[in-house]
């Protein structure tokens, strides 16, 4: 019983570890590679989402998204750091969303 438990644990943990390693070694985003090769093509405009768009996509995944006017700049700074950690958001997402919320309140 004990051995099967540890065995399953080992499998799941090693899958997790390999995904993490795969991702952290993938430092160069795919977009930069292609962008240098096909400079000037439409690839350049890839995934440059605005803070407003990201706010619309990201902030309602768990709860209904608050409006920029709900809080002042100081509050948004605290909330952004809180949500960055709790919701495990990327630095880029939260930086853009925070500037949008602060510019539109």
């Amino acid at each position: 019983m004990k051995t099967t438990t540890n065995f399953k644990a080992a499998i799941i943990l090693s899958v997790m570890a390999s995904i993490m390693v795969a991702c952290s070694s993938n430092k160069k985003p795919i977009a930069t590679d292609t962008a240098t090769e096909v400079a000037g093509s439409e690839v350049d405009f890839k995934i440059e989402k605005s803070g407003a768009q990201l706010w619309g996509e990201v902030c309602n995944r768990c709860h209904i998204a608050p409006s920029p006017a709900d809080y002042n700049d100081t509050d948004w700074e605290t909330i952004s750091l809180h949500m960055r950690v709790r919701a495990n958001l990327t630095e880029e997402e939260i930086t853009k969303i925070e500037s949008f919320l602060k510019s539109a309140n």
Binding site: M1, N6, L13, M16, E57, D75, E77, T78, I79, T90
Partner: protein
């Protein structure tokens, strides 16, 4: 004279203004509360009650762009007693773009329900799915350290969390014989040298972040006290979760799907049953599982202002506790809800819930419980 008054006035104004300069550190008091009414019919026996208001203040302290503290207290009336709880209290520091460290008592990222969806103003139904909460099989919070972070994969996103905590204690049956073999995740004091190790990986495959799949694991080599017979009883748990939230134009609204499967495997051990004063040993295959899936829909693109505030919810959940255990149980539950959103953080929920339970604490047969609930939750 007028000039002097004006001069004084403006310097006074300037001073007042100065006090509104944002300070480098920030403290915020937030939180939520909820109250309601419920009517339950358990196998023909009825009860109804207004529910005591629950009040949960949340303290957020931001020291810098990297360092922050969060804590939540919980005040609730249980019968006539005021029950207090420390839901979480942890400090966090952003180490780099992809990694944040947290330490203290925190909500565990085992699946998503407990960490992200359980607060009353977020949960679309008044109740938790089967398998979560009191006597549930999914760990909710613990004391320890955690590393977490996220990566942008050029469209898709990936996030991770790994943690080490004190871990659960096994109920050996000496206090509550009918619960022998259950893991007690609410026992925060460490009973042994072994720690629990867990983690979750979340993948958002679509560039619009509408979908997230998560896989979680949690294990410990020991759940009993260092000098007890249960020292070598280990446990391994895993979970799968799904979230899909998307605004769909032909449907004129937002569709929100959530699901989580939990599996718990505890090493087999011998427990004792006292019958007629004689202690009888028994054992069982200690495996439990639970599952829930929830669909909700908000017609936010509807022409009517009233319709825009409405939300329709349906949830299925089930729970299987081990055969042969004193707490053997097979339950299934359907819950339906109609919500009215007064603001993004305040909702009045009406719901009907029907649960079929075979076995369980109190009886050996099948019990059906039907319930009607009205809840009002507000976050502030």
């Amino acid at each position: 004279m007028t000039l002097i008054i004006l001069g004084l006035g403006s310097s006074a104004l300037a001073q007042t203004y100065n006090t509104f300069e944002p300070s480098k550190t920030q403290f915020m008091l937030r939180g939520y509360g909820h109250t309601g009414f419920e009517y339950l019919d358990t196998g023909g026996e009825q009860e109804s009650t207004f529910l005591g208001a629950t009040f949960a203040p949340i303290f957020l302290y931001k020291h810098s762009d990297k360092l922050m503290f969060e804590a939540e207290l919980e005040f609730e009336l249980e019968g006539n007693e005021l029950k207090t709880g420390l839901e979480y209290a942890d400090v966090m520091y952003v180490l780099n773009k992809h990694m944040t460290v947290r330490a203290g008592k925190f909500l565990l990222p085992f699946g998503t329900f407990m960490e992200r969806l359980h607060p009353a103003w977020i949960n679309r139904l008044p109740s938790r799915p089967l398998g979560f909460g009191h006597d549930g099989i999914a760990p909710a919070s613990d004391i320890g350290v955690e590393l977490r972070g996220a990566f942008d994969l050029g469209g898709p996103k990936l996030n991770y969390a790994v943690y080490v905590t004190n871990g659960p204690r096994i109920k050996d049956g000496s206090e509550e014989p009918e619960e022998a073999g259950m893991l007690d995740f609410g026992y925060y004091e460490d009973v042994n040298l072994a720690k629990a190790l867990g983690g979750r990986i979340g993948l958002l495959p679509l560039s619009d972040s509408s979908m997230e799949w998560g896989i979680s694991a949690y294990m410990t080599n020991s759940t009993g006290a260092e000098d007890s017979d249960y020292k070598d009883v280990g446990a391994f748990l895993w979970a799968l979760d799904l979230s899909y939230v998307k605004s769909i134009t032909p449907l004129q609204g937002v569709v929100d799907i959530k699901a989580q499967y939990n599996s718990s495997n505890v090493d087999t051990a011998t427990y004792y049953e006292i019958e007629d004063g004689i202690s009888e040993p028994y054992s069982f295959d200690n495996q439990s599982s639970s599952f829930y899936t929830q669909l909700s829909y908000r017609p936010i693109m509807s022409g009517s202002d009233f319709m825009k505030q409405l939300e329709f919810v349906g949830r299925y959940s089930d729970f299987n506790a081990p055969e042969g255990a004193e707490w053997e149980e097979k339950s299934t539950q359907y819950a339906f809800g109609l919500n009215y959103w007064l603001s993004w953080r305040s909702v009045v929920k009406f719901s009907y819930q029907t649960t079929k339970m075979e076995g369980g604490h109190d009886s050996d047969g099948t019990t059906r419980t039907n319930g009607l609930f009205v809840h009002w939750a507000i976050g502030f």
